[in-house]
């Protein structure tokens, strides 16, 4: 085989890889660009400060939906992230091989693949039907259930990446196991764990289906967590499928805000960690 042929082949393969990378980028930037293009022009102060108008009336905004989504992911985060991280610590640090951890791993894999609407139905029949009303809390629980398996799996992968020798170094210095995990293993993996948690938050923030019959939606402010609450994805869904031009505009604006909300949240979380010295 001549060296020239090898060079051609190399160039060809490199070309194919580059092409595929570009192809993969098209939908990514296409979606982002399209949302930004349609959303920017639709954004105004009213969108952030006003409540929705009655059906078919132009104007109004999604202030309640923006706050609603923040509240929902806050509930989901408080319930889901610590649960997921602690479960992952158990799986990697305490019990890697028993039947219990195999069962947990299998279940989390299955849970990750379950369509979110089914989680919504389960929360509806267990929580909503039992408490007798739709609520922000029920919506948060549904989102938390979606987050937990994602957090478990990503945290577990991150903890596995921490070299065993580091743990052994800790033990060699006479540091107890719990302290090794807390002070050495977790900080080493912190960034990855955080990224995983933020991905789970992002996934939860964009969910519509499980909120349909848990949080229900609200065209006004919710006065307590025990009441139906508005959420951006619900509002976007309702507005985008409507025939009203102004609602289409606001659906784009809502999509853009939702994307930025997720970006800002993960940015703030990263910033908070970077400022800690020993990370």
């Amino acid at each position: 085989m001549s060296s020239r042929l090898r060079k051609y082949r190399n160039a060809l393969m490199l070309g194919i890889f580059t092409l595929c990378t570009l192809l993969a980028l098209i939908p990514l930037f296409g979606v982002l660009g399209y949302v930004v293009k349609n959303g920017i022009s639709a954004l105004n102060l009213e969108f952030f400060t006003s409540l929705p108008q009655p059906m078919g009336v132009a104007g109004g905004g999604m202030a309640n939906a923006i706050v609603g989504t923040l509240i929902l992911i806050a509930i989901a985060g408080v319930l889901g992230i610590p649960t997921g991280i602690l479960a992952a610590i158990y799986l990697t640090e305490y019990d890697r091989v028993s039947w219990l951890s195999t069962l947990v791993r299998f279940t989390t894999d299955v849970l990750t693949g379950i369509p979110s609407i089914i989680i919504g139905i389960v929360v509806y029949t267990t929580l909503v039907m039992k408490t007798g009303n739709f609520s922000a809390f029920a919506g948060g629980v549904a989102l938390a259930i979606i987050m937990v398996p994602l957090v478990i799996r990503s945290t577990e992968e991150m903890l596995k990446l921490v070299p065993q020798t580091i743990r052994e170094a800790g033990y060699a210095l006479g540091i107890p196991r719990w302290r090794t995990i807390l002070r050495i293993v977790l900080p080493t993996a912190a960034k990855g764990i955080l990224t995983g948690a933020m991905l789970a938050v992002a996934r939860a923030a964009g969910e519509t289906a499980p909120l349909l019959f848990t949080a229900l939606g609200n065209q006004y402010w919710a006065h307590s967590l025990n009441e139906p609450i508005a959420a951006l994805p619900l509002q976007i869904y309702q507005y985008a499928t409507s025939p009203y031009k102004d609602w289409h505009r606001q659906a784009w604006a809502g999509s853009l805000v939702l994307i930025f909300l997720v970006i800002i949240l993960s940015f703030v979380a990263r910033l908070a960690f970077r400022n800690r010295k020993n990370f």
Partner: protein, 364 residues
């Protein structure tokens, strides 16, 4: 380290919550909880169901909350079928439906006796999207049935042309749009088709959801209007307000007396006038007799429990509904909903006065 991490996360979350609470706080004036003074107590009512009356109802709610800032009425258009289910499961304070509850459904209600209060009266527009076609195309009932049965598939069909002399319709495939959720709008529409087409009655039947022979489904009146608006060749049935708000053309339909009638508040009122409304308010007014009656019209009902389990909510509920059937009706004509007939309103008021909390009537 985990406690530091925990602190950071809780910090982020707490920040979001604080933001949320500030947002709530600044926009809910006069909401301090003073149980002694019930008039000032903030009450949130949740309703869900019919999208047929949603444009009118949300406008009524907006007006009512201006006069009563302490009362919030959250209404979600989830469809009449879901509205009936949720009120029957006692998950909401009131349901909205344009298909009255059947005896079986009433018997299954968890919270006792349900009252069905007519909230408005509306006509259902047969809207279409045909490029360059005029408004008020004439569509005969049997033709409409055959379009929805999938037997007429093109807009240039001779049976459509026969009713529209002088109009040239394009060679364009008809796309049938219908509701995918349990819908009172569907119930009114299929009751009409069953009334005029024995074939429809035997093959498909009537109800809030049926097995559609053809077509694409959409959730809610708004989505059906959206499909009609965006897809050339589409025909769909929507409450008139949706057609008018979006400038969708609508068809003239031949009524029982053989006259071509447009959907309007007057023709819906004329249809309702042809029927005696029974004590339980359950009445179908499709295919009404009378020269000016529009044949695809119906009432939309609020569903409430006669025995309320929460005094503050129950009081707010009957007061709001009482306002909606009286002053709230003034909003109806501008949105092409027919105001409720006055003799009906006084009967409905009597029904609302029969709503009690622990034996005490709530509406004074």
């Amino acid at each position: 380290m985990i406690n530091k991490k925990g602190k950071v996360l809780t910090g982020v979350i707490a920040g979001a919550l604080v933001l949320a609470l500030v947002g709530c706080g600044t926009t809910t004036p006069g909401a301090p909880k003073t149980p002694a003074n019930e008039a000032a107590q903030a009450v949130t009512l949740t309703g869900a169901g019919s999208t047929f009356m949603q444009p009118l109802l949300t406008q009524q709610i907006a007006d009512y909350s201006k006069q009563h800032p302490n009362i919030t009425v959250n209404y979600q258009g989830v469809g009449s079928g879901a509205g009936i289910k949720q009120v029957s499961d006692n998950l909401i304070n009131f349901g909205g439906t344009d298909a009255f509850m059947t005896d079986d459904q009433l018997a299954a209600a968890k919270g006792g006796k349900i009252l069905q209060i007519p909230m408005t009266l509306g006509a259902e527009a047969i809207s279409y999207n045909i490029p360059n076609a005029p408004n008020e195309l004439k569509i005969a009932p049997t033709t409409l049935a055959d379009i929805y049965l999938g037997k007429i598939t093109n807009w240039n069909d001779s049976r459509i042309a026969a009713d529209n002399p002088g109009v040239t319709l394009p060679n364009l495939k008809i796309t049938v749009a219908h509701r995918s959720d349990g819908s009172g709008t569907t119930s009114i529409f299929t009751h009409f088709l069953s009334a005029i087409s024995p074939e429809w009655d035997s093959k498909v039947g009537k109800g809030t959801s049926v097995n559609w022979p053809v077509g694409i489904g959409a959730k809610g009146n708004a989505s059906v209007a959206g499909i009609v608006q965006q897809t050339p060749g589409t025909i769909g049935y929507v409450e008139l307000a949706y057609a008018l708000q979006n400038n969708l053309p609508h068809a003239l339909i031949k009524n029982k007396d053989g006259k071509w009638v447009a959907p309007s508040l007057d023709s819906a009122s004329a249809a309702a006038a042809a029927f005696q409304v029974p004590d339980d308010m359950r009445v179908n007014i499709v295919n009404a007799p009378g020269a000016t009656a529009y044949p695809i019209a119906g009432f939309s009902w609020a569903l409430i429990y006669q025995q309320q389990s929460d005094k503050a909510k129950g009081t707010a509920l009957v007061n709001f509904l009482n306002w909606a059937i009286h002053d709230g009706q003034k909003l109806a004509p501008s949105m092409q909903y027919a105001p409720l007939p006055s003799n009906l309103v006084s009967r409905e008021e009597a029904m609302l006065k029969s709503v009690t909390y622990q034996g005490q009537p709530l509406l004074k």
